[in-house]
Structure formats: C-alpha cells, structure tokens
Symmetry: C2
C-alpha cells in the first residue's frame, strides 16, 4: 500500500508559486536597493519553504525506490512511506544560506573598500565598534558565518551516513562532535575568546571575567554533542521531531528580536541578527517538513533532520554567545535525557524501540513497557528506586501478587506523559508535548531576562 499523492494539487502549485515569486521579487528588489539583510532573509525563507514543500512531494518516490522508506507502526493501516526526508530540508537550507552570504556582507565591504582589492579594513572595524554599521556584519564575521555553514554541512553529510548505514547508538553519539570541529577550529583561529562573565555573587572569588581556556572548548563540544542527540532521542510519534525543533527555533528567534527592538543599539545586536539569519530559513524548511510529517505522517524525517536541527541551534548559540539560553530552551530534552539514563546506561533493560504502544483496539497510544519475568527481576536498589518513582507518578510499575515486577513503563518523556494523561490519540500527544515545550521555553526566556539582572551586571554580554 503506497498510495501517497506525490503530485502537487493545483491549489498547492499556485500558492507555492505565488509565494516563491513574491519572495524572489522582494529579493531582487532588496539586492538592487541598499536593502536590509533581514528582509532578504525572510524572502529566502519563503523560497526555502516552497522549494522544500515541492521537493518533498516530487522526490518521495525516488526515496522509496532507493530503499529509504519505513513503516508507521502506530496506525491501523500500516503502509510504507518515504524516510529521511530531512535530507531535503538540509540541502535546501544549505543552498539558501549560501545564496544569502552576499546580503549581510557585501555592502559593508563595498563601503570599506577603496577599490582594486585594496581593503581599508581599519576604517570598517572602527566603525563597527562604534556602532555605526551595527545592523550589518563586520567583515571578520564572514569567517564565522562560513564555519557555521561547514558545521551544518558536516552534520548533514554524517547524518545521511547514519540514515544509510544504521550506525550503532554508541557511535551515533559522537557524530555531532565531528561536525562541531569546524566551528571550534574557526572559533579558535578567528575568535579565541574563552572567558565567561562571572555572576556577581561569585565575583569576589573569581573576578569579573573568568578564563576557562581549554575547558571552554570542551564546554562548546558538550553542547554540540548534546543538542542534536537530545532532539534525536525525543522522537517516536508523528511530527514530534519537527514540532519541538520549530518551537525551539521560534523561541530563539523571539529572544533574538528582544535585542533588535531595544531603544538604544545593543552591543549584541550583531550576534542576534546572525542568529536570525540562520533561524528564519530553518523555520522555512521545517514548516514545509512538518506539513508532511504531522499526524497522519506522509513522510518520515530521519536522523538527518534531528541532528541538523540540533546543530542549527548549536551554531547560532555558540557563534552568538548565548549557549546558556539554548540550555534553558532544551529543558524538556534535558529532562528526557536524564529520565532516559537508566535505560540508556543499562540499569534497566532497553528494548530496541521505546516509542509509545499503539493499541489497535482503541486506536490510542499507551505507554510502552519493558517486561520482567519472575526469574529476571531488577536489582534490589534499582527496584526500590523504581517503586519510589512509581509512587511519585514518574513511572508506571505493574507487579504481581507477590510484589514481583511484571512490566514497567519505558523511560521516555512521551511514555511518562502517557502515564500522566492516560491513553491519548497520537495527534493529541504531539500537540500536548509541543505546547509543554513552548510553555517551558517561554518560562525559561522569562527567567533569563527577568532574573539574569540579579546575578549579572548587564543583561547580556556583548562580544
């Protein structure tokens, strides 16, 4: 049963064409006039949406033919649909982000060039530091921008490798570490600032700035490993990978906008524009993917998308120097990871798939479980902790008459949510988890901007 409609309907064709045409118009206009890069970025994001939307449809059959297909387990009618469609997002995104390069950089360089390749770089850098060109990138940021692209391309390449070759879980973990090398190397070569601002209560002991040195690179690498993997782990129901990524991207974009709307030119404006230029096209391709991946899914996203999304967040937050904010927005993912730890690290047996169980009779999702036999019971300490979690409503444990474990729900946030909220429709579960991510993220941002001033002298440290 592979009866998926791959042709675009006439309405779709017309709408996508109109959107793309309007965006191209804005873009050309923007390039000829002395336009705002932000508008160009918006226009390119519209083009990215149209392109991704159409290509997901057109290339679906080719993906199936190449063996990139999977079966949706949580449906009555199990049929094969294309897998790894996130690869299309990645390629379209990269192309768009490359085409965008001239917009933020070109005018600056024209202004700072006296012609014939003899660049008066001093002139430019001085102006930037005085805030004159605050809404454009300084030339030195070109290298950062390019290194971000290289990191994203690396993760796309490695993600596709993962989708093709089914790499082992232990090895997968380090894929983002490889992809973050270009970012860290260029950071090292081009920037090299490894100091962090010390919170006021600690300043008497550590000073105002504390140089982490080598540890700063370890910290960045950890963020780079965590973010993509945490998005990859929170998966298993239609649309959840994309919707959580969209929520995080939106929250990061809102955070960026807070810096653009300040009455005075904020020293971090550049970093946050940089971040927006990367986030807007990401939102463009992600919405096109969500359209097809939302319940009932017509395509799967593949590991490529999860890694790629996570890396986009890493790239903007590291190069924009707001990685702590990213950590705030990943709270549900962090919770999911810590909660999963007993199974990931083998304290509790971990089945191959831990996605919620589809109850064929009711059509609802229930928590999936790990079965226990009377012979194979958890160790006493583990058992005690699991019973405690059960009492705290953080796990569902079923025991027999003699108190032996029969089955325990799997340690993922999706299963936990189902333990709390009873059997749910797949779509409903996706909506609720997405709403929870949004609420937690908004609260995180509120904390960050309201309470940061209690521990830091300034709201954000510029460059």
């Amino acid at each position: 049963m592979t009866a998926i409609i791959n042709e675009l309907s006439r309405t779709e064709t017309l709408s996508l064409f109109a959107l793309a045409a309007a965006c191209v118009g804005i873009l050309v206009n923007n390039f000829q006039a002395d336009g705002e890069p932000l508008i160009a970025s918006l226009a390119l994001s519209g083009i990215a949406f149209s392109a991704t939307y159409s290509m997901i449809r057109w290339l679906g059959p080719s993906f199936m033919k190449a063996g990139l297909r999977g079966v949706d387990m949580s449906k009555h009618h199990k049929r094969e649909i294309p897998e790894c469609m996130g690869g299309i997002c990645a390629v379209v995104y990269l192309l768009v982000i490359i085409v965008f390069i001239p917009f933020p950089f070109y005018k600056d360089i024209v202004a700072a060039t006296s012609g014939g390749g003899n660049r008066d770089v001093v002139f430019q850098i001085e102006n930037v530091q005085q805030g004159r060109f605050l809404h454009r990138f300084p030339h030195s940021k070109l290298a950062s921008y390019l290194s971000a692209i290289i990191s994203l391309q690396s993760i796309a390449l490695l993600g596709i490798g993962d989708d093709l070759f089914d790499i082992r879980w232990r090895h997968k973990l380090f894929i983002p570490a490889f992809a973050s090398i270009p970012l860290l190397v260029v950071y090292f070569v081009d920037f090299g600032v490894t100091s962090i601002v010390v919170p006021i209560p600690l300043q008497p002991y550590l000073g105002e700035l504390f140089n982490l040195g080598f540890l700063y690179y370890v910290y960045m690498c950890c963020i780079a490993i965590f973010s993509p993997n945490s998005i990859n782990i929170l998966a298993g129901i239609n649309g959840i990978e994309v919707s959580q990524s969209i929520v995080i991207a939106l929250l990061l974009a809102i955070n960026d906008c807070l810096y653009l709307l300040t009455p005075y030119p904020h020293p971090a404006t550049d970093s946050h524009l940089f971040s927006l230029y990367f986030l807007l096209p990401f939102l463009g391709v992600s919405f096109a993917l969500l359209w097809h991946n939302w319940y009932p899914a017509k395509v799967f996203v593949g590991d490529t998308y999860c890694y790629f999304a996570g890396m986009v967040f890493v790239v903007v937050s590291i190069l924009g120097h707001f990685s702590k904010t990213l950590v705030l927005l990943l709270i549900p993912q962090i919770f999911n990871f810590i909660y999963s730890a007993p199974q990931l690290f083998g304290l509790v047996p971990c089945p191959r798939h831990r996605l919620p169980k589809f109850n064929v009779r009711t059509g609802l999702l229930e928590p999936s479980v790990t079965p226990w036999t009377p012979e194979r019971q958890p160790k006493p300490l583990v058992k005690t902790v699991m019973l405690l979690l059960h009492r705290l409503r953080l796990l569902r444990v079923a025991t027999d008459a003699e108190g032996r474990f029969v089955e325990t729900s799997n340690f993922t946030i999706l299963n936990l949510w189902l333990v709390w909220r009873g059997p749910l429709k797949e779509e409903r579960l996706a909506v609720e988890i997405t709403a929870m991510q949004m609420a937690v993220g908004l609260f995180g941002l509120f904390i960050r901007h309201r309470l940061a001033l209690l521990v830091f002298k300034e709201d954000n440290w510029g460059i």
Copy 2:
C-alpha cells in the same frame, strides 16, 4: 560471490598504524613548534591515506548491505563489489582539511593580535603585502579557504545524492554548478577581482588588464561545471577515474612547487601553497582508493569521487588564479568531451553504457559499438563525417557489402584508444591512458612555463 577480504592483514594493520603514528607525531611536534604548515599538510595526508585505506575495508560490507554495490562487467567471474567508495574519500578528506585550518592561519593571527580579541589587522596586512609573511596565509584568506571547503562539501552532498538516486544525465551536468555557488559567492564578497591580464599582442587594443566583470563569473562557473563532469565521463574501466585524478593532482602539485622553489619570493607563492594544502590530502585519500580500485577492482568509486576530484581542481585553480593551467592539464578530458559530443548531443544514438566491451573468450577489452540496422542509418551528412573519421583512424566503422553501416565504435577516448591499439587487457589500457594523461600534462606544463613569457610580460600574475 561476495568473497572479498574485508579484514586488514597483519602487515597492512602494522604498516598503516606505523604510518599514522609517525604522521601524528610529526603533526603534534609541528603544532607545538613554530612549524611549517606544509609539513603539517604532508603529515595529515599520511593520516588521510591510512584512514581511507582502513575505512574502505571496514565499511565495504555496510555499503553492500545498504544497497551500494555493483557488478564488474569486464571480468570472467562477475561478482558484486561495494559502490560509491569515493564517499569515504570525500568525508576523510573534508575532516582532514578542516583539522588543518589552524596550521596555516593560527600563527599569523597570534603574531598580529595584541591580545583580548583586539586585532591589529593593519599591521598584519601591511606585512603580508611587503612579503614578510609570504609563506603563511594572510588572515583575509581564511574566508577563501572556508569557501573552498563549503564547495567541496556541497559537491560531496550532491554527489552522494546522485549515487543514491540515479539522477538523469541532463540534471547531473548541473550538480557542480550548484556546488560552485559558495566559491563564487565568497569570491564575489571577499575578492571580486574580475580582471584578466591581456596577452601582449592584444594589449594595444584591450589595455594591460581587461575587466570581464560578470563574464568572469560565467567563466568560473563553466570551469566548475566542466572539470567534475569531464572526469566523470572518462570512466568505465577499473582505476581510470582515480588514476587520471591522481595524475592531474600530481601535475598541479608540481606546478605549485615550481613557484615555491623560485630563488626570490614569488608574488603567487601564497596561492600555490594554498593549492598544495588542498592537493596533498587529496593525493592521500586517492592513493588509498586507487589501491582498492585498480585492476582487478575490489571496490567502485561512484560518481561522488569523480565530482569531488574535479571540484578539488576547480577550487585550487580558481582560488589560486591558475584556472588556465587547469585547462591545459585537462586536455585529454576536453578531447574526450568534444569527441563524445556526437553521442552526447544525439547526432549518433547513445547506448546507456559506452564502456569498452569485454571479450569473454580472449579476456581482452575491445571497442564497444553502436549497432545500426539497414532501416535505421545515420543522416547523409553524419554518415560522411563518420566515414571521414574512419579514414582518419578516429573511429571504426563496419559496413556491409552495400556500404550500409553495421556498427560503429562508441565515441569515447577509451574506445578510440582500443581502435588504435587493438584489443588490450583492462589493466594495460588503464596504464596506457594514465601514461598518456601524464605525458600530455607534462607537455602542457612545459608549454605553459616556456611559452607563456612570449605572450605575457610576467610568468604568472600574483594577486
């Protein structure tokens, strides 16, 4: 029959390990001391060789399992072997070239930084222009270097897409055009020189420098489209894709060395060092691939490798400003393309595969042919030209008693070589074509360096 030895033998393991260990030693030493980037590049190339060699063996079965496999048609025992192993080369190469970034750039920046991120850029640029740091990159070259990496990653991504999805010939042609966008965009943003030096005889009419403007980008794009495709077309026997690429890379490296060994600091030294840094690791991964792809092939290279190799040449020659030299080294490929044109553009029917025909009885390769039926004969003009080519020994035409075409050899340089040199063993044909490429290339370089002074004032134009 898939009895391919995937384990490394003990001798192989020891040799590769020794090589890699020695190279790592050199590298660490080089990084701690104020070492030459060129030595670091050589050491990294050794590591690249070892890594590619081992990974080709280790990942062979995974490639086969993922459906990336093909049958070698020109053998008695037809067996399936892994396809697309060029993908491994590309990934190893990219990783190595990314890890290399700090070597040419870091010291420069340290020298030019007064600390705390406050870069005294003037100091550095002045010095570079006075030739003091001639053997190191100026900071502004970092962007070029990164854009080259982006172009190479793009071609790897698109090449893998091509290998997976069997893209149509017409669409394939433009894959390198997409991949060259980052190169051209950064060229536009960061460099923007579009003037060419006019040969002395034409200077009275055009001036000393002629600004091609927009056409310069068209020219670069054409080179970028031609080089990868021309290498992809000259294929069909074991080892030929890799051996021709190695010959071209070696010749480019020799050409680069000519500029490093000048008694006085040549203004183009930087460009040619840049080129060497990209070519040496390419040679490393290519030799590892050739080892397994040479007759009798244990792996196939896939389109990814051909595109990637062609793009490496494009990147170094465009960013090094010696694209005319590249054209000289691609003469056999250019001949092959022009010679193929009648079939590529449909004047003569073109079968799906035009690789030389394997004669099962003799075990030798013979020219493959396009058959003609008495009803379907070429148009009179085409027929006349083909008969003329036959008389010039540039084609083999077999006619029946009434002068009607029965079969004509296919228009590829490999078939033409077989027309000239009779049936050959596959290995022999590969050796001869490679030797011819080497001889033509050396002659080209000789021409370039001996005769260029007759039409240009200087041997090479610096920046």
